[in-house]
């Protein structure tokens, strides 16, 4: 095995990264130019004319789903938390079989460009399209905000490019793809990105595994030896079973309610290709998560957790640090460029889905009562694309430096609660009514957003971030002092050793400013603790720390909703309201049309062949 790394070029603007990224941009803009000449009407703009094959769409679906946040984030989580990161990654795959079994074929057979076409198939167009468009837009905007803030932050970490510049580059390029090339260009950008990401991750895994003799047992035994066997055991990820179940629901059924994913099923010619595309997508995404988890364990063993968290406390640079360590600057440059391309492709897909909700659902379906000429619809779709691109950049600027990780969870909560129940009931339940559908969508939306707002995730961690920080520090201090009190003599000896070590480290030359500051601070704390123990001040300090903790705890306004994930209630509520209101008053017209819907659901007679437009 090689030695552990001492330094990194992550965070510098490397010419190699720029070169690889420029190549990607040149190729994708070339494709956009090619696609622009094939994107003249609405069917081409929204659905690439229905001419994408199942295999291509499978790659594109995978491209839409595998975000830079999941690649870098899950590898980071595994490298720092071990097995808990693996548990987390499993949840991101399990929604795909649900998409296939319950949604993909009926969606393809019943709709035209968006999932709201399906919900509105036999119900009243206007209220349904308005509600579904709002559900789509809220999902897309939360997802987009998380992606944009993540994009700015990651690009700054990778290249040290200013946050704002990164956002403008991402915004300008994604607008170009979608505006000129529509779904065709977006699909090919996704395909290229998916191939690059899967290829890059595969290469990284091969290189990492070659360091441990291509032996998983050896990889795990080294991880276990270095970080104790607990690294390979479930830790603190799931402490509240109901909360975990709730998160599981959102992940599973949220995937089946994501507008940018659902929209992809209209790019294939028929239900058969639609189902094939989910099979390929599930395979690619599952493979990707297995690679990512391997990369995480590889980084923990070959690069080391301390080094990874030194670059970024959240561990997000684990995959890139591993790439640099075993593949050098060239491989790092390539992978960083791929991560950038990944961000770009995901936001392009989201923007297209949002623009479709605005133009196809809201403008045509609601304001023009379902009849607009194609030219006008295209104009609105293109204006909506530019508007959403600008909004995405503005959201990125607005939420700069904020903790937006919860927004991905929120997007999945809204997708599973507002979009999925109405979609499923409209396909399968004859008695489902317009009133039931509209109420179900708004109930799911309001419960998902409202409950997350009043949950600890937002109400405490975001809105009272400063307070939570004080409380965390006070709790840690009290715990530390309690530990000293258990065996003061040993604590004193340990602290002396630590102080000497730090003094020696500080005396060494060539420390960077960040390390210098951290070690100086650490030394000051260690010396203060030592003085405390030597002067018999421990008992008084313990009492003071406890009082601080109680005070901070008292000042923190507790979240009214105690769970982190509202899925059980928001999704359950959406189904319940939809069922009760549908049963309360029948809609004869909708029941009669269910016959035609059922025939189309199962055999596809009358399904929109987008390619025939």
């Amino acid at each position: 095995m090689q030695t552990q790394p001492q330094s990194t070029i992550i965070g510098t603007l490397s010419p190699l990264s720029i070169f690889f990224f420029m190549v990607f941009v040149a190729i994708t803009l070339g494709i956009t130019y090619w696609a622009a000449r094939r994107t003249k009407n609405a069917a081409q703009f929204y659905a690439a004319g229905g001419g994408i094959t199942g295999f291509q769409n499978g790659l594109a679906l995978a491209g839409d789903y595998m975000s830079a946040a999941s690649f870098l984030g899950i590898a980071g989580l595994v490298s720092t938390k071990g097995y808990d990161g693996l548990i987390y990654s499993v949840g991101w795959l399990v929604g795909w079989p649900i998409v296939m079994f319950l949604i993909s074929e009926p969606l393809r057979n019943l709709g035209k460009y968006t999932f709201s076409d399906v919900v509105a198939f036999r119900l009243k167009q206007k209220p349904i399209k308005a509600a579904a468009a709002i559900g789509s837009l809220v999902t897309v905007l939360f997802y987009l905000t998380a992606q944009m803030v993540g994009a700015g932050t990651l690009i700054k970490l990778m290249f040290n490019l200013p946050y704002e510049s990164a956002l403008f580059i991402v915004g300008a390029l994604m607008i170009a793809y979608v505006l000129f090339g529509g779904m065709l260009a977006t699909t090919w950008v996704q395909i290229i990105k998916a191939v690059l990401l899967l290829g890059g991750a595969t290469l990284l895994v091969i290189l990492a595994m070659s360091q441990v003799g291509f032996s998983y047992p050896r990889l795990f035994s080294e991880a276990s030896a270095r970080y104790t066997p607990a690294f390979l055991e479930p830790g603190g990820l799931i402490t509240k079973p109901l909360d975990a179940f709730s998160l599981g629901l959102a992940l599973m059924f949220g995937t089946a309610g994501l507008p940018h994913i659902l929209m992809r099923f209209y790019t294939v010619p028929d239900a058969r290709e639609a189902r094939k595309s989910v099979f390929y997508a599930t395979g690619f995404i599952g493979y990707f998560y297995i690679l990512t988890v391997t990369i995480g364990f590889g980084a923990a063993v070959l690069v080391g957790r301390d080094f990874i968290t030194k670059i970024d406390a959240g561990g997000n640079m684990a995959a890139l640090a591993l790439a640099e360590h075993i593949g050098g600057g060239v491989f790092l440059g390539f992978l960083a460029a791929v991560a950038f391309a990944t961000i770009l492709a995901v936001v392009a897909g989201l923007t297209l889905a949002g623009a479709s909700a605005l133009s196809h659902d809201l403008y045509v379906g609601v304001f023009r009562h379902g009849t607009a000429n194609e030219k006008d619809e295209m104009k609105v779709a293109k204006a909506a694309t530019v508007a959403l691109g600008v909004i995405a950049v503005l959201l990125g600027l607005l939420f700069k430096g904020q903790n937006v990780a919860f927004m991905v969870g929120l997007a999945f909560a809204v997708a599973s609660s507002a979009n999925f129940p109405a979609l499923l009931m409209s396909i399968t339940w004859k008695r489902f009514t317009t009133v039931g559908a509209v109420a179900s969508i708004y109930t799911g939306l309001i419960l998902a957003v409202g409950l997350i707002f009043f949950s600890p995730t937002v109400y405490e961690d975001v809105l009272q971030a400063a307070h939570v920080k004080v409380l965390t520090a006070a709790t840690a201090k009290a715990a530390k002092l309690d530990k000293y009190a258990k065996d003061p003599a040993k604590a004193m000896a340990d602290l002396k050793v630590k102080a000497d070590g730090l003094t020696a480290a500080l005396a060494a030359q060539g420390l960077d400013a960040k390390t210098l500051e951290a070690k100086t601070k650490d030394l000051a704390t260690t010396r203060a603790d030592l003085a405390l123990l030597q002067n018999n001040g421990l008992a008084a300090a313990q009492a003071a720390a406890k009082a601080d903790k109680v005070k901070a705890d008292g000042e923190l306004k507790k979240a009214p909703f105690p769970m982190k994930n509202p899925g059980v209630f928001s999704m359950g509520g959406a189904f319940l309201v939809g069922i009760l209101l549908s049963l309360f008053k029948r809609e004869k017209d909708a029941e009669e049309k269910f016959e035609a819907e059922k025939v189309r659901t199962y055999v596809g007679i009358g399904a929109e062949g987008a390619s025939s437009h």
Partner: protein, 103 residues
């Protein structure tokens, strides 16, 4: 007599068989997937000791690792089972119904 309208088709035994088979298969597979994932989550929540036990004497690999990876692989296999059935049996049934209707 071949079915003409949507109404007649719904009464058609062959269509009914096709719809019933599809509902059964998708329902079973959906339930299997739910049990697979939430069973795994239940293990994490209620039986950490089992997931933390070693796969074999002297190995450092915990049982939790192959189980988690197994959930990912089995999920994909379930989608494979479905398209194997649908591409073969279901599409043939759909084609027969469509042919009889002259569509």
């Amino acid at each position: 007599m071949p079915p003409k309208s949507a109404h007649e088709l719904l009464e058609d035994p062959e269509f009914q068989k096709l719809a019933r088979q599809k509902n059964t298969i998708t329902l079973i597979l959906t339930v299997v997937e739910l049990v697979l994932y939430f069973g795994f989550i239940a293990l994490v929540a209620y039986n950490k000791a089992f997931l933390s036990s070693k796969t074999s004497e002297g190995s450092s690999i915990t049982i939790g690792i192959p189980i988690a990876v197994g959930v990912i692989i089995l999920s994909w296999i379930l989608t494979g089972i479905y398209i194997f059935w649908a591409n073969d049996k279901y599409d043939a049934m759909v084609k027969r119904v469509k042919d009889r209707m002259g569509r």
